[in-house]
């Protein structure tokens, strides 16, 4: 549960996403986890301020199950994604309090058919250790252009 372990965890999450191993990716999330993409600069409140996403594990499961659905027409053809991560910056690594936090600058590319879209920003991970393994309590994605009008963003940053 050292700093390197936090960084390795962040890389592993991105690897699972890029490999489209959705079930393995969901397995990294704590049952009470949230996945948050704010719509405001340095946003504080995910509930009474607007967000692009603020989802619990149930809703993430819906997304994952949908991706392989027979009638999920926006996934015909399928999307693919790629994460290019800077070395995670360890914000907190405290085994006593059980608080582990990292902030990672990223370039995210999502592609489908002939189109390719690129997004950049910072991913913040808040982890807890359970039985010697990390689980994600909160993943927060701050895009540099959170307020831009995007087309469909179908996968996970």
């Amino acid at each position: 549960m050292n700093e390197k372990a936090i960084a390795d965890f962040v890389y592993e999450e991105a690897r699972l996403l890029d490999a489209m191993q959705w079930e393995g990716w969901l397995g990294l999330y704590h049952a009470e986890a949230r996945y948050w993409v704010p719509l405001e600069w340095q946003q504080q409140d995910p509930v009474l301020q607007p967000s692009l996403m603020y989802e619990d594990v149930l809703l993430l499961k819906v997304r994952v199950e949908r991706l392989s659905g027979e009638r999920t027409f926006s996934q015909k053809p399928k999307s693919r994604c790629h994460h290019l991560l800077q070395a995670p910056q360890i914000v907190e690594c405290n085994a006593e309090t059980g608080v582990f936090k990292a902030r990672t600058s990223f370039l995210y590319t999502e592609t489908r058919g002939d189109t390719l879209e690129r997004y950049s920003g910072w991913a913040s991970h808040e982890l807890i250790a359970i039985d010697g393994a990390f689980k994600i309590k909160l993943k927060r994605i701050d895009l540099i252009n959170f307020d831009a009008p995007f087309g469909n963003i179908q996968l996970f940053m």
Binding site: V47, L48, L58, R66, G69, S74, F150, G151, N152, I153
Partner: protein, 446 residues
Amino acid sequence: MGAYRNNIDAVRALVRDSEVHRDVYIDAEVFDLEMEHLFPNSWVYIGHASQLAKPGDFITATIGRQPVLATRHSDGSVHVLFNRCPHKGVKIASEACGNTGKFFRCPYHAWSFKTDGSLLAIPLKKGYESTGFEESPASIGLTPVKHVKIYRDFIFAKLNDGGLSFEDYFGESLSTIDNMVDRSPEGKLVVQAAPIRYMHTCNWKMLVENQTDTCHPMVAHESSAGTAVKVWTREKGDSTDTPMAVQLYAPFMSPYEFYEKSGIRIWPNGHGHTGVSNSIHSDYSQIPGYFDKMVATYGEARAKEILGETRHNTIYFPNIMVKGPVQILRHFIPIAVDKTLVESWVFRLVGAPDMLYERALMYNRFINAPTSIVGHDDLEMYERAQEGLRSNGNQWVNLQRLYEDGEKSDVTEVINGTSERQMRNQFHAWVKFMTQDMTERAEAAE
């Protein structure tokens, strides 16, 4: 040479009783004519007065392609002005919103204007002496948009002088805005948040039509709403409370019979709404404390009447949709013939519990966002339509569902909820406001 400019008959011929020609969606010249005629002839939504809370506050908008701004003047009045310096044409306000202080100042030559648009000062004023400057339109300042109406804080404007008054244009359709405002225990709405913005690579009318299309949700949204219901059924265990999220998703899977019975009401000039007697918004859980507050303001009978009105989507022709029960206004802003910007705004009901605002924000990101799986279903269909319409197999789009011979236009009626009558209603209005200021040229039909 295009086929439609200066050819009123060709424009009229694009719309038949129960079908429209594909060019209304894919022809760039038709789009140009919409910008030049349809939007300037219509009452177009600019914004909400709560976005202009203090003197000096401004918002920017476009009517068709023309940039405008709305400002709050020091005396409290709201002004809608062309967003153009009268000197060299530079846009005065470049941001979506802001506060300009006591005056606007052009960044190019420092001409400055009061917040009602009137000219305040010009540097080197002497240079204009004995030039006849006071006779020039530039001496007035920022040109006002003449036809402006603020209805219960909703700001609308019309560019052209001709055509209908605000009241004649909207008529009874304003009852949807009334109901949304009345849902506040203080009779007041505020915009507190930036809109969710979403770029659609399709024609703007596809989105407008989709708002009253009740035969697509159970088909197109099986992937999102259907999966949400399936996953919840599997995962809920002993839970008896359906989460707010599932309550928002599940009604999209309602069967055809549900929509047939819930009805559509059409109004003159292209306005209309789904969910007359029942809607996908009817069965949300009560928000603790809300009804009591409504009763305290309105009395029990009136409170029940207000909350019993659960209209689904109301189209205000040409390009906004209002959803009263979740306090959302979607603005479909045409950018190009195949590109539409959607701004989805959430209103907060002043005096209502936070949870109502929470639900409205949640609905907005679940259904209307570029990160919404429901939104993904819809955009995929619009994009496929935008491409498919190029096929020469059939050049007409069919809008015939529940069409009856001798169907009247510009009337108020309540009809079967799966009818395409509201789309026909919109296209009747489309022809009307497209051609209202076009010159008749009988010979051009040949």
